[in-house]
Symmetry: C2
Subunit: 171 residues, 2 copies
């Protein structure tokens, strides 16, 4: 409903697009400078905008939040999160140059080895799930593409229903 | 901008979710009873709604438009269509019972063998692209999962940039 006049506008779930960027095994993470979850860690991601593809949106968000120019390698994950009306779409990406820096929405951006991922200080459950899968895929040496639903029950427990985890050779 | 009062509301691309339903090689198609593209053929699909996953939305649209209860087998395609601010997400599905019927948004629903797909009377370019891929996959005996962008140039020509076509064994 419009807060200005009360007219009802139709609302649909929104896509959040982002990149999981890997160099020599390390992942590029951002510490959030904005609410919600100020001060917590995430991968660069944000709302898809009109006129751009999900790849373009993921690349733009990475530039805005992490000051990094990246190239998408392949789709990595699609997670529906019905209880917040969002679908997260992550791409696997590589750096096009070595430069990165904290954008206005980040307090800090840094390379993190898998063993030092701040699991207790990640911003969102979908980031945790995606990074857990990514680290598993790194260890197995085979990147997959993932598709599923993240739910939360009345006690605040999360569940992941995975529809698909397709093997995908590294490229 | 709200037509009621002029307040600006943020708009994001929307997800359209649907099913490609196959039985004994035939595909379940719907003839549209609504605009745009009234009288043209499509697979059951529509806007994802708040509170549902993309799988749930695809199953609901199939029930509403084709009167069919289906079970999703696997993700089939994700196509970004930036020039209309939409992302189409199709699942491969099977019938849970033999019943189907035209819903209020369909003039007719019927099983169509691949050789009789009405290519000149399909409602949307994304439906054409998806059915072309599906028929190819049927012929090769190997279902893939597809990911790409559909663009349209100033002359109205469509292009498809495919990021990924992963082999997916039939299941």
């Amino acid at each position: 409903m419009c807060p200005g006049c009360g007219v009802v506008h139709y609302q649909n779930p929104r896509m959040v697009v982002g990149c999981i960027i890997e160099e020599q095994g390390n992942l590029l993470l951002c510490k959030r400078a904005i609410q919600p979850r100020h001060g917590y860690w995430t991968v660069p991601a944000g709302f898809l905008e009109l006129g751009e593809s999900t790849v373009q949106g993921a690349v733009r968000e990475t530039w805005e939040e992490a000051g990094a120019r990246v190239q998408v390698i392949a789709p990595y994950a699609h997670f529906d999160i019905p209880y917040i009306g969002q679908a997260y779409i992550f791409y696997r990406a590589r750096m096009l140059s070595a430069e990165y820096s904290a954008g206005t929405e980040s307090l800090e951006v840094k390379w993190v080895p898998p063993a030092q991922i701040p699991w207790d200080a990640l911003a969102f459950q979908v980031v945790r799930v995606s990074l857990e899968m990514f680290v598993q895929d790194q260890q197995s040496g085979q990147y997959r593409t993932h598709h599923g639903i993240i739910s939360r029950d009345a006690e605040g427990r999360y569940t992941l229903e995975e529809h698909l985890a397709l093997p995908l050779s590294h490229r």
